[in-house]
């Protein structure tokens, strides 16, 4: 079982990075080809559209920064799925957990808006994580006690959270001008942005958490025990690994990370709480984590690519007069191509 750290680890790291990039490159090309076909049928020039997408995202400093902005919440919502998946738990509830995190963080932002940022932001981060964790705790406990499968309960709780957010926003928190959003947060409740772009501190948070996740899974006792439980629940339990405790704690941690994603979105990106600020970022995190097979590097690569697609969609809407959602077709096409090749994840899971 001994993982020798150091040079072999580093070489394996780069080798797997290269392998992932090459494999995914081919797959995304095929997906892009299929979407081009749909664009062609609907009367848009696919080559021009793709040029728009890439020039607008990778072609400029600003475009690239916007990709990193879109990538930030995906990193977190993907990690929120990847962590529980290591012990065989399927967390489909990232969407709801994210809403609850955003909800509690917003409460702090609106109530204590006068406090200085160094004091207020940690409170918001903490509350965001508590919100998400609380939303994941119910499925965690139910699963640990063998009452309801976590897949079903997280799925059922997903649509409830946006309604709770809507209840507070429409009922109590809305600004005098709009009914569907809160007033703009005070400057101290906004996450600092970096390099004069819209990239927020959330990106650093996300990358740091992924690094911690990688380190914990690889080099700590917790990681070993979690991997053990993931391989074989029964054997893990017989070896004295506290099965129930892990299920509940890991589920809550996953929820907390999704909650953090919600906090990062409202504080770092929007600066207000919109009643329906996310339409599927939690679900997208599930797909990113699934595509990356829960590997931290894979999550970074995959969310970067997904972020390019999402950011490119904005431009497609402006210049090609297509609805923004159309970009979801491109996203789905690439997913379909990956899904149609199960060897992708299966081989990696076996190795």
């Amino acid at each position: 079982m001994g993982n020798t750290p150091g040079r072999r680890g580093a070489a394996a790291f780069w080798a797997s990075l290269a392998q992932i990039s090459i494999r995914y490159g081919g797959v995304f090309l095929l997906g892009f080809g299929l979407f081009g076909l749909i664009l062609l049928i609907s009367g848009s020039n696919p080559i021009d559209s793709y040029r728009d997408i890439f020039v607008s995202t990778l072609g400029s400093r600003y475009g690239l920064s916007e990709v990193l902005v879109a990538m930030t919440p995906l990193l977190l919502t993907a990690l929120a799925v990847a962590l529980p998946s290591r012990i065989g738990l399927i967390n489909v509830g990232g969407e709801g957990q994210m809403y609850m995190g955003a909800c509690l963080a917003t409460w702090a932002a609106l109530t204590f808006g006068g406090l200085p940022g160094w004091f207020l932001l940690p409170i918001m981060v903490l509350l965001g994580m508590i919100g998400g964790a609380a939303w994941a705790a119910v499925p965690g406990v139910l699963r640990a006690r063998g009452i309801v499968s976590e897949t079903i309960s997280t799925l059922l709780l997903n649509p409830v959270a946006p309604m709770i957010v809507a209840f507070f926003v429409f009922g109590y928190w809305h600004s005098p001008m709009d009914t569907n959003k809160t007033p703009i947060f005070s400057a101290s409740a906004r996450l600092p942005t970096l390099f004069g772009t819209r990239i927020s501190l959330g990106l650093i948070l996300g990358l740091a958490l992924l690094a911690v996740f990688w380190f914990v899974m690889r080099s700590t006792r917790w990681g070993l025990e979690m991997r053990g439980l993931g391989w074989n629940h029964q054997a893990g339990r017989l070896n004295g690994i506290p099965n129930r405790k892990y299920v509940i704690v890991v589920m809550c941690l996953g929820g907390a990370i999704a909650g953090l994603a919600g906090m990062v979105l409202v504080s770092g990106y929007y600066g207000v709480l919109l009643a329906n600020f996310s339409r599927g970022i939690g679900f997208m995190g599930f797909l990113v984590s699934w595509l990356a097979n829960g590997s931290p590097i894979g999550i970074v690569v995959t969310s970067f690519v997904v972020a390019i697609i999402l950011t490119g969609g904005n431009l497609l809407q402006l210049t090609r007069d297509l609805p923004y959602s159309v970009i979801n077709i491109l996203l789905a096409m690439t997913l379909f191509v990956v899904l149609a090749r199960p060897s992708f994840t299966r081989k990696k899971a076996e190795s």
Binding site: I38, S42, I90, V92, V138, L142, G146, I147, V148, S149, T151, I152, S153, L155, L156, L157, N158, P159, V160, M163, I164, A166, F167, F170, G171, R279, G280, F283, M284, F286, L287, W290, L291, L322, P323, Y324, S325, V326, I327, N328, I329, L330, L331, A332, M333, L335, F336, L339, A340, R341, P342, T345
Partner: protein
């Protein structure tokens, strides 16, 4: 609170309940064959937009319903190819299908936002002709609503009283056993997915062609997920699904009633009722409840190589 307002509330509850019942029945059929379709929301959207577009182009709502049915079936065929042929993960495939539906329906419906159509004709409830005109006008429903409960009974009969239904349920419980007894699990799963997609297509068509009579992006607003919750709530049983849809419609009606009678209860909190109730029921039934789910749900049929 006037009788008229009460009737209006009930009428709109019936309309939203019918779409939900069709979608739930569709999901029951595919889950009975062992396939969870998390992309139901996307299937509903695509069939709603296709149905609306065809109705708007041809002026014939029945052709619109037919197009929606085909669109729903085709959407499910994508899922079938991924999870049956390619043995892909069902949850991920379903979510990918959902995003595909978001995008495709927006693309299809782009030219039809704000278009006017002649919706499905509404027929008066028998015996309502004696009522005052205002009342009677609220008691006019389209054919899909009258058919919703009979269709649910037909699906029950199909699943529990026919040889094909036995095959579907067998495949859902254990594809290997079904194969050993001479069934073709892959074919049966495709058939069940097609029927499920067609039923979802009826639900989507009813939404855009009969109820709202317009197309807006994301007009289903979570209906697909309510349907998935109701499948669990109704124990994967078509007849209980009627009760589930009634419960949901009841919650909608209740919330409208409270609002119109001036009692301040947030509609958002009332909308959480179907989900919370499903979860509570699951908890109350505990692990016994699991016996109701098809044992092979989510399982990949590897086949014999």
């Amino acid at each position: 609170m006037s009788k008229l307002a009460l009737l209006g509330v009930l009428s709109s509850a019936v309309f939203s309940g019918a779409s939900l019942l069709y979608a739930t029945l569709g999901e029951i059929v595919s889950e009975r064959s062992g396939i969870v379709n998390l992309g139901l929301e996307g299937v509903l959207l695509v069939s709603a937009s296709t149905g609306f577009a065809v109705t708007s182009l041809t002026g014939n709502p029945y052709l619109g319903v037919l197009a929606a049915v085909i669109a729903g079936g085709l959407m499910n065929m994508i899922l079938g190819y991924l999870v049956v042929n390619r043995k892909a993960n069902q949850l991920a495939s379903g979510l990918a299908l959902m995003f595909f539906g978001f995008g495709l329906s927006a693309l299809i419906g782009k030219g039809f936002v704000g278009a006017k159509i002649v919706g499905l004709p509404r027929l008066a409830v028998p015996g309502s002709s004696g009522l005052p005109k205002l009342y009677a006008s609220l008691l006019r429903f389209d054919i899909l609503i009258y058919l919703a409960v009979p269709v649910a009974i037909a699906i029950w009969w199909l699943l529990f009283r026919t040889r094909w239904g036995l095959g579907v349920r067998a495949v859902g419980e254990s594809p290997d056993t079904a194969f050993a007894s001479g069934r073709n699990p892959r074919l049966i799963r495709f058939q069940a997915l097609w029927l499920g997609g067609a039923l979802a297509g009826v639900g989507g068509a009813h939404l855009s062609i009969a109820y709202a009579m317009n197309w807006t992006e994301y007009m289903t607003a979570g209906l697909g997920f309510i349907a998935i919750a109701l499948v669990i709530f109704s124990k994967w049983h078509p007849l209980y699904a009627i009760a589930g849809a009634l419960l949901f419609s009841g919650a909608v009606a209740f919330q409208l009633l409270l609002q119109s009678s001036g009692i301040q209860v947030s509609p958002f909190l009332l909308s959480t009722i179907p989900y919370v109730l499903t979860l509570v029921v699951l908890m109350a039934w505990g692990s016994r409840r699991r016996m109701a789910a098809p044992a092979g749900l989510g399982q990949v049929y590897e086949g014999v190589e």
